[in-house]
Symmetry: C2
Subunit: 446 residues, 2 copies
Amino acid sequence: MSALPRAALPGRLQRAPEGFLQPAQIREVAAGRRGFLRSAFAAAAGLRLAGAARAQPPGEEVILRPQPWATSLGQPVAAFPYGQPSKYEKNLMRRESPGLTRVSAASVAFSPLQGMFGIITASGLHFERHHQGWEDIDPSKHRLMVNGLVKQETVFTMDELMRLPSVSRIHFIECGANTGMEWGNVAVPTVQYTHGMLSCSEFTGVRLIDVLDHLGYDRKKGRYVLAEGGDGSGMTRTIPMELVESGEVLLAYGMNGEMLRPENGYPLRLVVPGVQGVSWVKWLRRIEVGDMPYATKDETVHYVDLMPNGQLRQYTSIQEAKSVITTPSGGQMLLDKGFYNVSGIAWSGRGKIKRVDVSSDGGRNWRSARLETPVLSKALTRFNIGWVWDGAPAILQSRAMDETGYVQPKINQLRAVRGTRSIYHNNAIQSWQVAQSGEVSNVQAY
Amino acid sequence: MSALPRAALPGRLQRAPEGFLQPAQIREVAAGRRGFLRSAFAAAAGLRLAGAARAQPPGEEVILRPQPWATSLGQPVAAFPYGQPSKYEKNLMRRESPGLTRVSAASVAFSPLQGMFGIITASGLHFERHHQGWEDIDPSKHRLMVNGLVKQETVFTMDELMRLPSVSRIHFIECGANTGMEWGNVAVPTVQYTHGMLSCSEFTGVRLIDVLDHLGYDRKKGRYVLAEGGDGSGMTRTIPMELVESGEVLLAYGMNGEMLRPENGYPLRLVVPGVQGVSWVKWLRRIEVGDMPYATKDETVHYVDLMPNGQLRQYTSIQEAKSVITTPSGGQMLLDKGFYNVSGIAWSGRGKIKRVDVSSDGGRNWRSARLETPVLSKALTRFNIGWVWDGAPAILQSRAMDETGYVQPKINQLRAVRGTRSIYHNNAIQSWQVAQSGEVSNVQAY
C-alpha cells in the first residue's frame, strides 16, 4: 500500500469542490485573478450577502447565447435501457490498491468517498473485498441449505426464498480492515484508500429468524449460526444467535431496489447490521445452527486483532462509532479562501449516530455539524457544516458520538490499548491537513 | 399505448416470485408435480411449520457436489471499475412504450417496478421523460443564472454551487401523467407501464431559499419563481415561493450518492418534493424571481387537467396519496397455491404515508400492511403483507392513507369528479386480477 503509484490516485480535478473548472481556470485562480466566492457566504450561520462587490465569473457569455444542447434534438429515451453515469464522471470509480495483495481476485476495490454524496452508495461504486474472486451465479441453480439444530433440514431455491415475508432496511457495511493502514502511520493519500471499504445500501430480503422459526430451530442449544459462502474461498463465519433473534440478520437478495450485484454476492448474501463485512457472507449457500462457535479459519487465523502482548482478540465483530470528512479530503485542493461546505459521514455498529463534531484546528476547538435526515440505526449518517477558510494552514477532523454515548477515539488513545500491529477495527479520528497552497493531505494529528 | 406489442413486455419469467425457475421446472409446477411451499408458511401471522411433509425440491444435488463457482478462482476486484448488474438481470430494464409519442426524444421510458424492491430506485432504472431528448452537458460549461426580483443577479458555476451549504434528502418523483392511460380504461398490461413514471432517490444539493436569501430576493413582491431548463425544449415552470420558503426545494446535483445521471438533468436539476416531475426542471440554467405566475406553455397548454365541462384545471401540481402492488402484478404468474409476500409502494405529495390497506377480494375486505422503515415525507414507502392464495380467482388492491387523513380513491370516485378525458393526476386504486391459472392481469374493479 505504501508503494501506491501516483497514477492510481484519483485526479485532483476529479470532483467537487474543485471538480469542474478547466485546468486553465484553476491556474487563473492560483494566480489570484479571480475572486469568486472569496467573500460570498460571509459565515455559515448568516448566509447574508457580503458587502464586497462580487467579481464577474468568467464564461458568463455561455448563458447569454444558446448552447448547442439548447438548440438541438437530444438523445432518445431508453438510449441506455440500463442507465450509466455521465461521461464527465468516468474518473469516479472504485479502485484497487496495487500491491495490497498478490492476487487481484483476493483483494479490495475501494469506494471513491471523496466524490460521493448523502448516505446511499450507488451500487456501481460499492466497495469490493473478495477472498477468491467473484462469480455471476445462475440464480436458477443457486440453493440455500439450512441444517444443523433444526427440526426440518431444508434446501431452498431462490424462488422459494422470494415468496417469503420480505423486509427492506438501510444499513452500512464496512470491512473490519477499513482504515487498517493508519495503524502504522502509513498515511494513505486519499479517503478512497483510508476509508473506502465502506458502503451503505437499502437491502431487501427475508429475516433469518423467520426461516429458523419456520424450520423449528433448537432455541436452547442452537446459540450459534454458521454462514457459508458458495465461492471458492469457502468463506465461513460464526454469527451469535442473539443477533439473529434481534430480527436484524437478513437473507438478502435485493440492494438499492434491484437484485444484488455479482460482486456483492448475487443472488443471496447475509446482512448482519453493525458487524464487520466479512460476516455478511456472499453467495450464501448454507446456514447451520450449532451449539458453539465454529472457530473457522476466517475467525481464528484471519480477522483477529493482534494486541501489544502478542495475543489475538477473536470475534471482535462490531464496528464501533466512526466518522470521516469526505470533502475536503486528501488529494483535493481548496481553490481559494472563503466559504466551504465541509461534508462527511458517520456510522456506528451499536445504533444511531447522536452527534458529530468538527474541528478545523486539529482538535482544539469543536463545532457540532448538522446531521442530514434520516438518521438510521447502523446506517451511514451524512453531516455538513460550513467553514470559512482564511488561507492559513488548518487541520480538519470529525468526531462521532453514537446513541450509547460512545465517542470516537483519537489514534493515540487506540494505540495505547491496541498497539500498532493490528489490521482491524481502527475507528480513530481522521485528520486532513490543509496547506497554505490549498492542498489537502492525510496527516496523523494527536 | 393500446398498440403495445407483446414483444415489448417483460418476460413472465423475468422476476420474483416466478423469476428464477427454468421453464422446464415451471412446467413441472403447472403439471402438479411439485408441492413446494404449497403449505409452507401456514399464515402470515404465525409463520409456523405446516404439518404436511414438504416435498423435496428438485435440484438438490447442486448443493451436494461442488459447483464450478465453488472450485475456481473468480473474477478480480475492479473487473468493472463501475459495477453492473448480473447478466441474469438483463431483462430488468426501463422500457419505452412504442407508439406513445411520435419521437423517442420526446417520450417516456418506464421503470420496471415489478422487479424492484424497497424504496430506493437504482439510478440505472430511473424513469425518463424528456421533451426534446437528453444531453450530457459538460459541467465546466454549465451555468445557473439567478435573476428577477433579487438585489444581486448572479451567474453560478457548478464549482461555486458545490461549495455552498449542502443537504441530502430522499424523495419520490412522479410524472403527473403517471397512470394516465387508466383514465380511459386502457388496462395497460404491467405495472411498469401503469405506474413506472415513478422513482425515488436520495438527492443532494443546495436549498434554493439559501441562494435567494443570499442574493437578497424581494420577500414581498417575489412570490413566484420561474425555473428554466437548458435543453432544447425550453422547459419552464412556475414554482410558488411558499414551496421555496419551506426549504424543501433544492438545486440538486447529487442522486443516490453520485452526480445526477444525464437523463435526469446532469449536472443540475430542481427538486420540488411532492410536486409532479415536470416541475423538477432538468439541466437547470435559470431561476427568475417574479411577482406573478408565468403561465408558460408547459403549464397552460400542457400539464393541465381537462374536466368534464371542457374547462382546464391549471397548476394542479401536488401528487396526492397513491399506492400500487408491484408483486404480484400484471404479467406475472403465481406458480402454485400457498403463501405469497404481497409487496408494493405508497407515496403522497402531502407528507408521510400513515397506513396502507390491502384487499384480495376486490375491495370488500381489507387488512393493514406492514410499512417498512424509514417512512419519510414525500418519499416512497414500501409495504409488505402475507397472503395465502387458495387457487381461486382473486382481485388484489392496495389503498394508501397519508398523514393528512386523505384516502386514495377508487377510479369511479375520481371519474365522477374529473371525467375520463384527463391525462394527469390519476391516483386511483389499482386492481390486479389473479386468474385460476395463476396469471395476473390489469383490470378495473369498482
